[in-house]
């Protein structure tokens, strides 16, 4: 229990100090929500990568970020939008642009999460999409074990 508490405290502390140009209130709210979602994975031994990716997003818009992953590790990506977002989704791609098959993606309203184990070390891409809702902010985090 103590370890879980310390881990959660570290996650929240990391969030407070994450490197980013002054986040908007919406981005802060999205980050709070996604950290709660990612906290569920920490119960399963996943460690949160100490950084996040956030910004504004509109319905029908997608955002793409490169992440460098190591074969052998398992990864989970989680995203959250703020209250005005109705549906957010996540998808992942290898360096050739081919979509990675995600076995059991999680999607619930303005939150989504996907997990996979890369077959090769190298660059991958994660796409955040807002399917429904009003313009909002998103925050994406990455956990690994």
């Amino acid at each position: 229990m103590n370890r879980t508490l310390i881990a959660l405290a570290s996650i929240l502390c990391a969030a407070a100090f994450a490197v980013a140009p002054s986040p908007t209130d919406d981005e802060v709210a999205a980050r709070k929500t996604v950290l709660e979602l990612a906290g569920a994975f920490s119960n399963d031994g996943f460690k949160l990568r100490d950084g996040h990716w956030s910004g504004p997003i509109k319905p029908g818009e997608s955002k793409l970020v490169q992440v460098n992953l190591y074969a052998g590790n398992e990864y989970y990506f989680a995203v959250a939008g703020t209250g005005t977002a109705k549906k957010m989704t996540l998808s992942a791609y290898d360096e050739t642009g081919a979509a990675i098959e995600i076995e059991d993606p999680f999607q619930e309203g303005a939150t989504a999460a996907i997990g996979f184990s890369p077959v090769a070390s190298g660059p991958y891409y994660v796409k955040v999409e807002q399917i429904e809702g009003e313009p909002t902010a998103y925050c994406l985090v990455c956990s690994y074990k």
Partner: protein, 270 residues
Amino acid sequence: MLRLNRHLAASLGALYLSGFAVAEPAPLTPDQIKAATLTDEFSVPTPGEFMAALNKTGKMDWASKARPPIPTNFSSRAQQALNLGTLIADGYIAVESEDKQAVKNVGRDIVDLAKPLGVKEEIVNRGKSLTEFADDAQWDVLREELEATQNEVKVKFSENDDKDLITLVTVGGWARGTEVVAALIAQNYTPEGAKLIRQPGIIDFLSARLDELPPKLRDDPAVKRARVKLIELKATVSFPRETTPDADAVKKVATLAGELVKDLARKDLK
């Protein structure tokens, strides 16, 4: 928070069990890939993540990769930042070795090196935490603390208008992490381990960031050395996905990264 997490875990678990069909997304176009965002804090993994992957391939003798103390009184801020990155990677090595005294020693050196970079207060507090967690042998917490330390230094650089130093800390950490991981893979060669040294995206990103530095910083002898060495390293860590490097190729990565780490710590670098 804990109750909420349990509820989330439970609901996630239920969804994993039930599963649901999702149409496969269309592939990305080359233009989309080219336009993808890259950030220091999200796109580049920490040395700890690299080490976690290596630990899955077998038991590693991390303690054998400790190095003698390095100077902490460099006159160039660029060299200070690069070596701060290598020291943070040393912290991960000490944690993997579960060596309490080494963690404390590295923590002290990190504080000494960070002070002239304008991050004294934050780092002194982190240094105290490292010592306390080392005393209690809380290795998992120490890994998180090191990651938070690196991030906190970068945040402070960002706030102090020293954003360019962020890249240098990352380069130093990546070089030292790559040196040690590649050396351990070469010592305990397995094809799975060898494939870990493939890091084309990271080296492209770091090289590009170094090339974008302001001329004054780019011409610093330590930065110049890093730029040259990254070009050499690029050829060794950018092999095709299907290729498995042999032991000699892995050793070459360890040697090149090791040469860079040693050069960065030289006080007579010109």
